[in-house]
Symmetry: C2
Subunit: 262 residues, 2 copies
């Protein structure tokens, strides 16, 4: 099992490396909007997305052909090993096309019990947040450090993040604002990077709605491995996406869930 | 004059280097909130802010003692050269305490004619955006590249950024939303990094309110050197701060100003 876990982790890093190499040439590559106008049908984000997913699938085909794959761009590929890789080659495409750095490559790995390992990779900054199979670490510009959520922060002292101020539907937005009204600081526009900051012990809550399974698989594994709690807004599994809350502590999770339920 | 400009630019880079060294030990340094609770009166952001401004002032004292200084933390120091440095050691303290990377060190330099040079530095990513005195460049993880705004993007295809969704007062927020309703994409939470992305040709508009002069000095010089337009919401000088609009082209600037005026 230790050998098998090592192979999984090595494979995941090779996948993330391959995605970085595939995506970075497209990031901030000239004036993408004007290129888009000149070459009808060329969508640089989709191109980068697809190239990255192909690169990750190529690593799996070579090293672990028996694993199943669920990818945002190329759909599902069946497997025989009981393990499934869940891939979002670029989470945060709006950040990506704006040149911001809150987008990331998301990799999740599930077995019959659920998610067991995940990566949030930010290729431009060169940060890789990773959790599961006994690992919980950030590898980045400062080298390697352990990921660990912070504890003991009350809701009225908490920092909350989400991506869009409207959050989701009108009802979802209203529920979000009930929580936002109680915390010390709310920040927007962070995409998957918000979950990375939660795992890093820098913030206390991430609340989002309308997520796809591939949006949350990697982040969920990273946050859980760092000691955080990730559920849907009813306290159930968040693996299917939809309405998701990630919290640094059981106390803050419970307090925010109460407010979300109204 | 060329020698003098070279000395200014070398000095500015030494200042930014010194600020980086002073700030980075405080960024994501453990659980700052808990530290804060344990050590009453210790505010890590203020400490980092002050240490960085002291470090920049020390560079000026050694290399250019005749220049005036206007700093966020230590106020005004008179000079005799006719040049004034305007310093914001950490713009985006809310991002800083959240571990996000949209904060920056801002340096502006003004003579009797107004701002002539500026820097937006992001120490953690290692990006330095710089403009004025014949220079317009980003030095970062990929080496050096020219900064240049993009042109030819119509308002309905534009990307708009600001820091806080409420923008400022109720009236200011309403004016902002008139512009936001017309653009293709609005993103929040970017702090000074939004101006850097504008200079880099990645976005088209930054609109903010309630700025201090030191919030806008560095960004203004960087955006103007890259070919952009920075004014207040009436089309006048933005050097005093307050309500600021930065635009990639005269056309998009005029269209957004019309909407801001209501």
């Amino acid at each position: 099992m230790a050998d098998s876990n090592d192979d999984i982790i090595v494979t995941a890093h090779l996948m993330a490396d391959a995605a970085r190499a595939a995506i970075l040439p497209y990031f901030r590559a000239g004036d993408l909007q004007s290129d888009n106008k000149r070459q009808i049908g060329f969508d640089p984000v989709t191109e980068a997305d697809r190239a990255a997913e192909r690169a990750m699938r190529a690593v799996l085909a070579q090293r672990r052909p028996g694993d199943a794959i669920i990818g945002e761009e190329y759909g599902d590929s069946a497997g025989s090993s009981g393990l499934s890789w869940i891939l979002d080659p670029i989470d945060g495409t709006r950040a990506f096309i704006s040149g911001a750095t809150s987008w990331g490559v998301l990799i999740g790995l599930a077995d019959a019990s659920g998610l067991i390992y995940g990566i949030i990779d930010q290729p431009y900054i060169g940060e890789r947040f990773e959790g599961g199979l006994g690992v919980s670490r950030l590898t980045g510009p400062r080298g390697e450090q352990a990921l660990r959520v912070r504890r003991g922060v009350a809701l009225d002292q908490a920092t909350l993040m989400t991506t869009f101020p409207e959050v989701g539907t009108a009802d979802e937005g209203a529920a979000f604002r009930r929580v936002a009204a109680q915390v010390r600081l709310t920040r927007y526009g962070l995409d998957c990077y918000a979950y990375a900051l939660l795992a890093l012990g820098q913030i206390d809550l991430v609340i989002e709605a309308g997520l796809q399974p591939y949006d949350i698989a990697g982040p969920l594994a990273v946050v859980q491995a760092a000691g955080g709690i990730v559920t849907d807004w009813q306290g159930g599994s968040a693996e299917a996406g939809g309405r998701v809350i990630a919290a640094a502590s059981p106390e803050i999770h419970a307090a925010a869930l109460d407010l979300l339920r109204g």
